[in-house]
Each structure stands twice: as C-alpha cells, then as structure tokens.
Symmetry: C2
Subunit: 206 residues, 2 copies
Amino acid sequence: MNEKFFALPKEKQNTIINAGYRVFSQNSYKKSPMSEIAGEAGISKSLLFHYFHNKKELYLFLWDNCAKLTIKYLTEYKCYEQKDLFEMMYRGMKAKIRIMNQYPNMGSFVIKAFYERDAEISSAIQDSFKSYKALKADKILESIDTTQFAEGIDVKMMYREMYLASEGYLWEMQRNGAVDVEKMEKDFTEMLNFWKKLYLRKEVEK
Amino acid sequence: MNEKFFALPKEKQNTIINAGYRVFSQNSYKKSPMSEIAGEAGISKSLLFHYFHNKKELYLFLWDNCAKLTIKYLTEYKCYEQKDLFEMMYRGMKAKIRIMNQYPNMGSFVIKAFYERDAEISSAIQDSFKSYKALKADKILESIDTTQFAEGIDVKMMYREMYLASEGYLWEMQRNGAVDVEKMEKDFTEMLNFWKKLYLRKEVEK
DNA sequence: TTATACTTGACCGATTTGGTCAACGGAGGA
DNA sequence: TCCTCCGTTGACCAAATCGGTCAAGTATAA
C-alpha cells in the first residue's frame, strides 16, 4: 500500500476506513465495489486506487486495522489486569464502545471477514486470526477474585450470562445505527449495578 | 408469483427459500444475483424465474414468509398466553429455535431487509412492518404475574437482562453456523434454571 | 405416439467491475 | 512570470455480471 495514506489527516483516513467497513460489511468481498467505497468516502475511485493498489490490499489493511485497534484499546484500558470482575467488564465495555463510536461498522466487518469464503482472501484472514485467539474469553475467569460473590452462585454461569447480555446489548445498539457513547455507558453502568446487587456477597444489609 | 411453487414438495420449497435467505442476507438487494440463489438451490436460473417472475417478487415473498412464520410459531407455542415469565420465555425460545433450525438465515434476512435502502423495495418493506410491531416486547411484562419474584428485584431490569442474554445467545449460535436444536434447548434450559434460582422468591430453602 | 408439464442452456442488451492513464490545477520556488 | 511538483480527477477499457427471455429438450402419463 502507498505510505502516503498515513500522511493524510487522521480525519480523512478514518472517513476512508469507515467507508470501507460499511461497504465490505454489507456485501461479500466480491460484490463490494471500490467505486462505492470511494464515493462514500468523498474521493474519486482513482485516488482510492492511488492509496491502495488493489481491492485485496485495501481489504487486508482494513482487517489488520481491526486486530491492531482492538488489542490497542483493550490493553490501553487495562481490562485484563483487573481482579474485580465488574471492573474488568466495565473497562472492556468502555473500550468496545469507544471503538464502536469511531468505527461503527468494524464489528460487522470482522464477523463477515471471518466467514468470508472468497478464495482470494479467506486464507489470509484465517492465518492472521491466530493473534485474535489470545483474547478469547475462556481464561478470563482464572485471574478473577471469586471470593467477592454471594454463596451458591455458579460463577461460570454468571459470567457467561453477563457476557451474553453485554453482547446482545452492543448488537442491539449497533443495529439501531446511532452509536451514542454517553447513553451506552449509562445503560451499561445500570446493568452493572443490577448485577452487583444480585451477585455480590451481601455484607451489611440496611 | 407462480402458484405452482406451492405444488413442489415442501423440502424443495425450503431449499429454494433458504437459498434466498442466504444470498439476500449476505448482500444488499441489488447485489444479490438470482443466478446465485438458483445455483445454491440446485435449480436453473430459468426455473427460478418460472416460479418468481422477477427478483422483487421473490424478495417480497421471502419477506412475507418471515412475518407469517414468526406469527404462526409464536401463537402455536402459546407463548403470549403465559402468566409465568419463565414459561413464556421458554416457549418463545423454543419457537425461535425451531424457526432457526428450519431457516437458519431468516433472522439475518429480516434485519437486513428492514434496513434495506433500495428504492425498489424499501417502501414495501416499511409498510408491511406494521404487522410486526404487535409482537414488540414492550407490553409483554403487563400480563406477567410479578408476585413470583424475590423482593427487591427490579423486574423491568431483570426481564431486559434475560432478553438481551437470550438474543446474544441466539446470535452467537447463528454466527457459528451449526444450529443444533437439542444443544440449544439444553443450554437455554440451564440458563433458565440459573435465573429461576436467582430471581424467584425463595419459599423453603433446603 | 402424442399431449402435457417441467426444466434447461443459450442468448440478449444493459450495466458494472477492477484497474489504468493522461491530464488538470494549485502551491511553492526561482 | 514561468516552471515544477504532486495530489487528484474524469475518461476510458476489456472483461465480467446482471435480470430476464425463449425455443428447445426431457420426463411423464395417457
């Protein structure tokens, strides 16, 4: 790819990136026209081909960008260093919301890319997916202090339940289009409080 | 449309319908080729055009089929006549799973269709969407017996939370492709039991 | 054999595709 | 004022794809 792309103002870069995520997340790789991406980004097709020499290059750049950004934000928010489960979930959610705010269609793009069957790119996608695996939610519970929860709680079930509800919420928001950071953080804080009241060991009830 | 379509064996009908849902749910209306649908259904493009005179007709038939089927199953399972919230959720989930098993891509199709911007069809979709509205989850809680829950529970929050987790679960399953009815029902029953233990008024603790 | 219904491959004109390229236009230096 | 870059574009191309048609092929039943 042409390094001059990075010399562009960040804002312009993001406009192009988001146009890419939009179009690629709405259609299969093959049926996603470069012309549509260019048009949505407000530049000519020629210029888009000036920055990215062909469609595959643009697509894989967008894919790499997902991985990099996700890892960057998750570590920046230090959500995997937490011992308090609720604090960890709160930080993770905040990171996801911030990404979603900047790149509203990145989530759909990732999923679509993962299941893309086109021979030209699917292998490249599958290869680089290994780096994502490290973030899988399986081993998260191990670093968590479990003494904070009320007795008799199935901790694994509880976490799975909270995780699913969070994902469901994010999905609902994305589907509805308007990504309102403040509303989402408020909603999620409410959910967290509801869970805390439910799951945390009751010290002194008033 | 050609009524002879309905004379086909149900199995063949569903093959064609599912091919339609797959292709239309993966691409925008305009970028979804009839040839691909025909190919995936194992019939020639000509024959597809024999049953549905043009693309729009097929698309709107698929759309109508969603509404009809959803209403049919939800009433068949009597999930809106329940007073017990958990029983209602269980029946609703069972209906959804059964639909999902028969038409794995119907869910994605509905969402995509709702947000379809193509002038040729978007108005027709928006019009017929009213019939769906009756099923909206807003007024569900009104018919539920709320005396069954433990004290201090925010019932609205609780329901929203369970709803989101269910949706999150369904979405996760659909994304993973293989729709395994038995596993899904088992998983959901487990979730329900977890919730019951959590939310139901504790009569006599052993 | 014949009549009927089902199914198809070949075909059409129109549109769209990824990608190229000569040229335009503005900024800055001499 | 002229010249030289360099970001940017519209016009262009060959190839592929699109929705839709139609005459002909095939199976079936009488």
